[in-house]
Amino acid sequence: MGKYILRRILWLGLVLLAVSFITFSLMHLVPGGPWDREKELAPQIVENLNIKYGLDKPFYEQYINYVWNALHGDLGVSYKYQDRSVTEIIGTGLPITATLGVIAFILALVIGIPLGMAAALKQNSVIDYVAVVFSTVFASIPGFVLGILLVIIFSVWLHWLPTSGWGDWRQIIMPAFSLAALPAAYTARITRASMLEVVRQDYIRTARAKGLSERIILSRHTLRNALIPVVTVAGPELAFLIAGSFIIENIFSIPGVGRLFVQGVFARDYGLIMGTILFYAFAVAIINLIVDIMYGWIDPRIRYD
């Protein structure tokens, strides 16, 4: 198992390197420089700034410097907020994005898994129908459409919830639900399909032939097998939540990493853009690694020995 983790971490490093290189190159293709503002700066000032930030050095040197610094935790300085480092800026946004992501993730599981289970256990009943409709509809409606409709219903019409901001628990409800809708739908769908499949298996019949109660058959025999595919998709779902949160953050004016990213793009803030993309790539890869390890723990047939 240890060797497997090591290999994955090495691969992670390689991927991050590649991601950073591609991003770095792409950014240098963006027309206009980082100093384009409303008012044009004098060429002398631009030149000084470039020297200060090492932008006059050749491409490869810039890149290697960047990677070296990044490995030490220094992701450079923000070009827009010149007195703040990128790491610090991301640091302010990270807990917010993470909180939102985790809450949405928990919501998705809490809604999706029971719904899928109930649908599978009572096939062709009302709840099955509801679950299927729910998962089809919410799997196709993008989060931001849902977010907007929620805002209309709960803020504009009912005046129950605030439209934006972060800090009060009421401000978390709509963004969390908008974000959670799609993963919840997927989770419900997969849980249902998986349960239906497991319930048909021979070993469930054996358990029943042993006279065990339905409760034990469900909890000990059925669920443990049925949830394996759910865990498999949990990783990409969480990754999706972290990456996809950016648009929800924009709608609800939540100061998370996603919003920072968009602002950075508009401001041509190279440092911030690089930093956020790397952060996302890293987060996604780590999550997938954790999920893969957990998968081995849950399914004894796949122990990487």
Partner: protein, 301 residues
């Protein structure tokens, strides 16, 4: 052989019904697709919207860009079916013209996806070995990118017209198709290898391509159909943030962004495009589900 018997028996004992067995994959799939009510619904909506969008100038009273300061923020009425926005523009026509944008983005991005993804996947599968390894590692790296963010970045780089949007979205979305094509060709490669070995040497690639198409086209079509709503969403998201299509070209995403400013006064400005996006995406999803079931060779009788 069995089909002949079956048909003959039906003709003798029953009047012919429309549910005849079809010999070809496509004929059979078409029948099955037609029976799937959701898929038919989705497909009809898409068709309707497409026709409405194409023939828009013929029947729409108002243009999508004409501003009318005498009729600002008018709610839905007989004059303006869905009301007007903050600049007096007719919402209904903006919605219809916006459909053009969405549908165009949905479709043309897939062209880019196919032009990039298909060859890469095919080459990886056909060449095998180190080339395959290299290409797939590259695909894995592309997968590690959070796609929306990359799209935004590419968009910032390319700037410009809607064609650049096709490019930006397409250049991120090709990875799925590449993997799919590679998988399909690899599986066909296994199967036909024996037959090909028996055939007089002959260009293996040519034979594979001729047998490849009927079987693997199915999953590719389904994948593309599911890709389209994702592209539509990407465009709407880009426009919502402000780096999508340039005004005055209407886009549902822009409409939502603009409408957000007056959301308390005129929520309908946001509701209509939001629902439009949802319905269009749902329609493609239903169609995709239907296609997937219809083209599934395992379900053939």
């Amino acid at each position: 052989m069995f089909n002949l018997f079956y048909r003959a028996k039906k003709e003798v004992t029953e009047p012919e019904t429309s549910s005849r067995q079809h010999h070809t994959l496509w004929g059979d799939a078409w029948v099955r697709l037609r029976r799937n009510k959701l898929a038919v619904l989705g497909g009809s909506i898409i068709l309707l919207l497409a026709l409405a969008a194409i023939f828009a100038p013929l029947y729409l009273k108002y243009d999508f860009a004409t501003q009318n300061y005498d009729a600002i923020l008018v709610g839905p009425s007989t004059e303006h079916l869905l009301g007007t926005d903050e600049l007096g523009r007719d919402v209904f026509s903006r919605l219809i013209y916006g459909a053009r944008t969405s549908l165009a983005v949905g479709l043309f991005t897939q062209l880019v996806v196919l032009m990039v993804g298909l060859p890469i996947g095919a080459i990886a599968a056909a060449a095998g070995g180190r080339v395959d390894n290299l290409l797939m590692r590259f695909v894995d790296i592309m997968y590690a990118f959070p796609d929306i963010l990359l799209i935004i970045l590419l968009r910032a780089i390319f700037g410009g017209s809607i064609f650049m949007i096709f490019l930006a979205i397409g250049l991120v979305a090709w990875v799925g198709i590449a993997r799919l094509v590679r998988g399909q060709i690899l599986s066909v490669k296994q199967r036909d290898f024996v037959a090909a070995a028996r055939a007089m040497g002959g260009s293996g690639a040519y034979v594979t391509l001729r047998h490849l198409l009927p079987n693997s086209l199915g999953p590719i079509i389904v994948a593309i159909t599911f890709n389209i709503p994702r592209a539509i969403f990407a465009e709407a998201a880009l426009s919502y943030i402000g780096i999508g299509v340039r005004p005055p070209t209407p886009s549902w995403g822009t409409m939502i962004a603009d409408g957000n400013n007056v959301i308390y006064a005129a929520p309908y400005l946001v509701i209509f495009p939001a629902i439009a996006i949802a319905i269009l995406m749902l329609s493609f999803t239903f169609l995709g589900d239907g296609l997937r079931d219809a083209l599934d060779p395992r379900l053939r009788r």
